[in-house]
Point group: none
Chain length 258, copies 2
DNA sequence: GCAAGTTCAATCATCATCATTCATAATCTT
DNA sequence: AAGATTATGAATGATGATGATTGAACTTGC
């Protein structure tokens, strides 16, 4: 086998598993232990993997995490995401907040000719190579783990832009409005709201009644909520009487291929 | 068989498979090993394919193989990247330009407690989950394929920040200064230069003598250049007499462009 | 703390791939 | 058609990659 091809396969396997033992690579690649060792040494010194005793671990996001995140996106989130994406028509300009649900929404946006603005690194990475989507990234301090840009730079950038619709996530919803756990995040999301004509909130039904550290905005700032059918009629009425349109995404969808 | 016909068949096969071994081409084309080698050399220097030991891989639009995770850079780029990373000390604030070489530099920055600012989506994705690196993204219009943020938003963001050092890439270097192919990119890079104390250019030796569409800046804006040892002593002297420090990284084999 | 078992880096002989050279064949010029 | 130019294929030595072996460094279990 060609050397580069073998090294690519090592990276592929490492990415998939997060960690590979040397022995596994030996048997999977059909190369000798020495050769695999040399490959690992090379990939380590080039910064792709981190050698450890007995094998090597992948640097950066292991795919297992990624897939976990995807499958952890519950059926409810998938439904919400799909329904939300259906609300968006060709040619629109959409501002996408960070979050797992909004990431699922982004997945469903591919194929539409639209303009997307976002402060989420995972969403941007996802849409980067899609020629039909014009992507604008809202920069700022990148919050670890979530990969969302926040802070003064983000707020400044948001002051200069405008979009037709905001797809926003939240930590919790009560009659007093929306909440989130992080003050920096709240500051950024407030500016997002000011930058758009229409605010669409995506929130699974567990978020209703939840409070969090920082108050984000009153209900009147939100135009519509897309949620799943686990929301109580009580909450539904409260929201509707506050003037919000409720979009319930249910199981009446096409079954997801196994 | 006609020369051009054989070469276009090589391209065809390479495009289809992404990678072809030399042996396969020999048996598929019925030409001798020497001839196929010569063809590969030609197609490599003309930029269609990338020769590797044992075969060649197709380049076509595979620039979108900007997949931060799995891409394997050439040895020259690796050397340059490693040496450049060594120039950066703990606690520094570094502004990283987009580009394949700077991406490799980013790979070698892991483990250092530093602050990184960048407008490159692949670099940001790579460094996102590294707790020791404080990451700030310079937002803007995301240029397809390369994943670099450009334009007015980027320039505005750059106006507000400051860093100790800029690691910059370029399309070409002559005595008149640096060049790049894209006007938007040039505009953004100019602002980058203004935002830092010290400019470090990373450029493999093939860039010397190359001009491109847009003039980026004079040589006096650059403080040091990290390149590979394929650079001629002539160019080296020209750069040094212009007051630039030349840092020559590693190895010996460099293809001479046709 | 010791012994058995792993894992590792270093070395070496072997093999594959590569750049170079040269003689010959094909193609282009005039 | 003769001479010049270029392409081809085989041969050669140089360089790089591979796999086996060895003793050192490390882990594990007691």
């Amino acid at each position: 086998m060609i050397v580069d091809e073998r090294r690519s396969r090592i990276l592929q396997i490492a990415e998939e598993l997060g960690f590979v033992s040397l022995q596994r690579l030996v048997s999977e690649l059909g190369a000798s232990e020495s050769t695999v060792r040399r490959d690992l040494e090379f990939l380590d010194s080039s910064g792709h993997i981190q050698r450890t005793r007995g094998g090597a671990s992948y640097l950066g996001d292991a795919q297992s995490d990624f897939d976990a995140r995807r499958s952890l996106a519950s059926r409810e989130k998938q439904w919400i995401a799909k329904r939300t994406a259906e609300l968006i028509s060709e040619g629109e300009t959409v501002l996408l907040d960070g979050g797992t649900t909004t990431l699922e929404v982004a997945r469903h946006l591919t194929g539409k000719t639209i303009q997307v603005l976002t402060n989420s690194l995972p969403i941007a990475s996802l849409l980067m190579n899609r020629p039909e989507i014009e992507l604008i990234f809202i920069g700022g301090y990148v919050y670890p783990k979530t990969g969302v840009a926040l802070g003064e730079l983000s707020v400044d950038a948001l002051r200069k832009i405008h979009a037709g619709r905001l797809i926003m996530s939240t930590g919790g919803i009560t009659e007093e409005g929306l909440f989130n756990s992080n003050a920096l995040l709240v500051e950024t999301e407030r500016q997002m709201i000011r930058a758009v004509d229409r605010v669409t909130l995506v929130a699974d039904s567990s978020k209703f009644g939840q409070r969090a550290l920082s108050h984000l905005c009153p209900l009147s700032d939100v135009d519509e909520i897309v949620t799943d059918d686990g929301v109580s009629s009580e909450w539904r009425q409260r929201m509707e009487s506050a003037g919000l349109r409720m979009e319930i995404a249910g199981g009446s969808l096409v079954k997801i291929a196994k």
